[in-house]
């Protein structure tokens, strides 16, 4: 594929601002320079992933342990920031409840493109053994798109680091305009979970493995009804 075609493909796909690239692309004969700059930017992007911790429960403690002295996530160029507006990666660590899901969605929308999401721990992936409880979202991927799944309850700090490295590969692939493989959602064993508690009890009893219908109905009932917008809680 010619360089110009590559550039055209990149131009068609990108959904983020790229000022240096735009300036260089105006000059004829600078294709080589743009590709070099692209490589440089790719190297920079994948080694300066700033993390927004959506830490709600136990996985948040392991996330803190990963950011602390022994594993030291900072040596990969990550910085943990408390605000979504400066961050590239949202790490969803912990159980997300129905009450919390609109907030997660709003924080995700506040992050600038390009952005990635990591589902850390089995609660964020599937809800774990809380997934049939009335108040728990069975998997964060019905609220925000997930790029990397890290299974575990909770995952070790080393697992989180491996997940971050997997994300780095995806980042560089995406910057290079190559197809990014989809991360497979780890399957859960439905038969080990006994209790079915809550408002979806009846329908789950009919077909326990029908996750698609369940998720659709869940989003229709909880998220869509709320419009994924915060209820008016200013004041009391």
């Amino acid at each position: 594929m010619a360089v110009k075609d590559q550039l055209a493909a990149l131009e068609a796909e990108r959904n983020y601002e790229h000022p240096i690239y735009d300036v260089l692309a105006r000059f004829p004969g600078l294709d080589i320079a743009t590709t070099s700059v692209d490589a440089l930017l790719e190297w920079g992007a994948k080694n300066s992933l700033w993390i927004f911790p959506m830490a709600t429960s136990c996985c948040g403690i392991e996330f803190m342990a990963a950011a602390a002295s022994r594993v030291d996530l900072d040596r990969m160029g990550t910085i943990v920031r408390g605000t979504p507006r400066q961050c590239d990666v949202m790490v969803v660590a912990g159980t997300i409840t129905v009450k919390m899901a609109p907030r997660v969605k709003r924080l995700w929308d506040q992050m600038p493109e390009p952005k990635w999401c990591i589902a850390m721990g089995s609660c964020a992936i599937s809800g774990d053994f809380y997934r049939d409880i009335y108040s728990v979202i069975p998997g964060i991927d019905i609220v925000v798109p997930v790029d990397v799944y890290i299974p575990g309850c909770p995952p070790n700090p080393e697992s989180l680091m491996a997940g971050m490295m997997r994300l780095q590969e995806r980042v560089s692939l995406k910057r290079a305009g190559k197809p990014v493989p989809k991360d497979e959602r780890p399957e859960t064993h439905d038969k080990t979970i006994v209790p079915k508690i809550g408002r979806f009890e009846d329908r789950i009893a009919k077909d326990p493995n029908d996750r698609t219908t369940r998720l659709q109905e869940l989003s229709a009932r909880t998220l869509k009804v709320q419009g994924l917008e915060l209820p008016d809680e200013s004041g009391e």
Binding site: P53, M54, A55, T56, S57, C58, G60, I61, E62, M64, A65, A68, S69, R70, G82, G94, T95, T97, K99, M100, R103, L107, F129, Y130, I133, Y134, S135, V136, C153, P154, N156, V194, P195, I197, G198, E233, S234, G235, E236
Partner: protein, 451 residues
């Protein structure tokens, strides 16, 4: 009045208060007439066999009228209040917790806490599971100190089923609980340093130091149980994992190293910036603490000498002379002091007990593998133990139709919920930066608050 909160539907009469009741390890299963077959509130419920000795030397509160906030109507003329929603996603709320602050300039006029962002329905979930399945789920409640959670729920099952715990398991449980207390307080100290910001080397230094030492304790637990975080090592009648070879020496090395570094943390209390940020900030009176049911370090920092490990000894706490640290000030500095001193005491107890581990079996029952292997007898029991955050109570009702080995009701009395109840009383009058320090010093764990 009783020191801690009375469990629901169980009014404690004054006559029952006066007579001391046997400690929890000796409480036999209550085979009362309670057979819950209908709705839970149907018919009279017999009084609970309290597994703790009520304290009699605490002074009762008289005509305590709580005033959680100033009257906002006085501010309506100005209409200059700013509403600030702190949370649910905020690094210093220690989890998903939301406090709405009404600010007059930088002074807080009113504070309204909103919990419930991590409600996972654990108590309802436990009603459909048996004891061995409940243990790993209860781990996730107080995810900073999972060991003590397991112990609380398993002790409740043992009390109800009348299962005896071997001496070796009781000693080992004490060692694990005290080591877990050190790890939990270390995590609190690290995050508290981050909350205070520039108090000590930019705040992040303290976080790094504390996690450096917490990792050593997690290594200890990983060697024993195979898990770093959620251990699932307690079971009805004892423990699952016996002490591996070389583990006591490893514990001595680890805790000895941490004990030396505790001197630095005690010296940090005298640091001028740390003192300025914590002394006189967030004062909780003893009356208010007793009224709201505070327990643990929060209560001891307010001048009330109360510790379930000494007052109603369970495990092997009767074998050691436990020093209980009490501070009178009730501010953030006193709470820090109490927690750091507790770490040193926990290290001392652990090192004594691990040297004197008696030989023998570690579990008195066979592993529960099948549903219905052990049936819960009808009856109810309340067991309260002293976790790093205070009294963690488990109220367990067994029996009932078609229930088998799962409880009819499992109610958890979490100390963090009561710690959060103090927020509307303490925050008004403080500045915004003090609010962060106070929230950090309360050390709530949201998994335990919302359950």
């Amino acid at each position: 009045m009783a020191v801690a909160e009375t469990p629901p539907a169980a009014p404690v009469t004054p006559a029952a208060q006066a007579t001391p009741i046997a400690p929890v390890t000796q409480v036999a299963a209550s085979t009362g007439p309670l057979v819950p077959s209908g709705p839970p509130r149907d018919g009279p419920i017999p009084p609970i066999r309290a597994a703790r000795t009520p304290r009699t030397d605490c002074k009762p509160t008289k005509a305590f009228v709580p005033e959680p906030h100033l009257d906002l109507s006085t501010y309506e003329a100005d209409a200059d209040l700013m509403t600030l929603s702190l949370g649910p996603q905020h690094p210093s709320t220690h989890g998903v917790f939301r406090v709405v602050l009404y600010l007059d300039g930088e002074q807080i006029v009113k504070a309204v806490p909103y919990p419930g962002y991590l409600h996972r329905g654990v108590e309802k979930l436990c009603e459909k599971l048996m004891a061995s399945n409940i243990t790993p789920i209860i781990d996730k409640n107080d995810y900073v100190a999972p060991m003590t959670n397991e112990q609380a729920v398993n002790m409740a099952f043992e009390s109800l089923m009348g299962v005896e715990v071997p001496v070796r398991a009781r000693y080992l449980r004490t060692v694990l609980a005290e080591t877990q207390r050190v790890a939990s307080h270390l995590l609190w100290l690290g995050t508290f340093g981050m909350d205070l910001g520039g108090a000590l080397g930019g705040g992040t230094s303290l976080f790094m130091w504390c996690f450096r030492e917490r990792e050593l304790i997690l290594d200890l637990f990983e060697n024993l149980t195979g898990c770093r975080f959620h251990y699932n090592t307690h079971t009805v009648g004892g423990n699952r994992h016996d002490v591996p070879a070389g583990w006591p020496e490893m514990l001595h090395r680890t805790l000895g190293a941490i004990d030396e570094r505790l001197d630095q943390y005690l010296g940090m209390l005298e640091h001028p910036i740390f003192s300025a940020r914590t002394k006189g900030v967030g004062v909780i009176d003893a009356d208010l603490a007793l009224e709201l049911g505070l327990t643990g370090p929060l209560l001891r920092a307010s001048g009330v000498d109360h510790d379930l490990r000494r007052d109603a000894p369970y495990h092997a706490y009767a074998e050691v002379d436990l020093k209980v640290f009490v501070e009178d000030a009730g501010d953030c500095w006193a709470r820090s002091k109490v927690r750091i001193e507790e770490m040193r005491e926990s290290i001392r107890i652990s090192r004594i007990l691990v040297d004197n581990l008696p030989p023998g079996p570690i579990c008195s029952t066979k592993p529960l593998k099948m549903v219905g292997q052990h049936k819960l007898p009808p009856g109810q029991v309340y067991v309260g133990i002293e976790t790093p955050r205070g009294e963690l109570g488990t109220w367990l009702i067994g029996g009932g139709a078609n229930k088998g080995s799962s409880p009819y009701r499992l109610k958890i009395r979490s100390p963090s919920l009561h710690a959060c109840a103090v927020i509307p009383y303490v925050l008004p009058g403080c500045s915004l930066s003090d609010a962060i320090a106070i929230l950090g010093s309360l050390d709530p764990v949201m998994g335990e608050v919302d359950r």
